[in-house]
């Protein structure tokens, strides 16, 4: 049977992949997707710990994290659309000025 450490290591790898995605990609949508990867890595940790402790709390926190992820995706994508209207680009390097 996989132990808790297996799940924690998998979660660490997924979180690091998400972090790498935020830095490496130059596309606002892919950066948002990388944030989703990180949130899911944390969800896996919560469920694994909840399973080890035999409590429902881990799963409930995952429920809240998913809600926050949905709100973040909606607002983040709205900001991306508003930015895209200005510059016709998804490259974050395009947005260097606070005002134009």
């Amino acid at each position: 049977m996989p132990t808790l450490d297996h799940y924690l290591l998998l979660s660490a790898i997924l979180f690091a992949i998400g972090t790498a995605g935020v830095f490496v990609r130059r596309n606002l949508i892919t950066i948002l997707l990388s944030i989703e990867i990180m949130l899911n890595a944390v969800n896996l940790t919560f469920v694994a710990f909840g399973r080890v402790l035999g409590s429902a709390d881990g799963q409930i926190i995952v429920f809240f994290v998913m809600t926050v992820a949905a709100a973040e995706a909606a607002v983040g994508l709205a900001i991306v659309i508003a930015l895209f209207r200005h510059r016709e680009s998804l490259n974050p390097d395009m947005y260097r000025m606070l005002k134009w």
Partner: protein, 174 residues
């Protein structure tokens, strides 16, 4: 155990492909595959409720939202010719990428070191998990009733905020 390694491999590979793609549509589709594998892991952890909402809410709703936006903006590739013409490549962009990749490698090494160096026996997953939706729902609406209500305010704020942000400047239409 085989299933764990299978799902873990699919999740890691799909996540790597997400950040390796230049076209965001493929990124979104690979992320859906990654979520499917994670959902299998939740089933192995005796959390079927989380597994189901992972598929329905995450893969079904949030990722479809991403797909909608990708197709709406119709700017699939990064580093398009227009971007290069407009000279948006910062001279430091390459260095930022290398630095970010090194930072991520350092992060994964550090996290793995923390897990492995804690000098204890691996904690086995034993006993009964809480797989009953009835127990989860009861806990959600008793012990976590206040956070649950706060969540509804959060969703309302996100709803209004995204409508305001995505509205066209002229104000004549949504």
């Amino acid at each position: 155990m085989i299933l764990f390694y299978l799902f873990a491999a699919v999740a890691v590979l799909a996540s790597l492909l997400v950040i390796a793609q230049r076209n965001p549509i493929y990124s979104v589709l690979f992320l859906i595959a990654s979520f499917g594998a994670l959902s299998g892991l939740y089933v192995l952890l005796e959390a079927p409720f989380v597994a189901v909402i992972q598929i329905i809410v995450y893969a079904g709703a949030i990722m479809v939202l991403f797909l909608f936006v990708v197709m709406l903006l119709n700017a699939p590739h990064e580093d398009t010719e227009e971007d290069l013409e407009r000279g948006v490549r910062l001279p430091s962009a390459g260095r930022v990428r290398v630095f970010g990749a090194l930072l991520a490698i350092a992060l994964v090494v550090e996290l793995i070191w923390v897990v492995l160096a804690s000098r204890r026996a691996p904690i086995a997953i034993a006993g009964e998990g809480v797989s009953s939706v009835r127990v989860i729902g009861r806990t959600l609406f008793t012990a976590y009733a206040f956070p649950f209500e706060v969540t509804s305010v959060l969703i309302l704020v996100a709803l209004v905020g995204s409508v305001v942000l995505a509205r066209s400047k002229s104000g004549d239409g949504v």
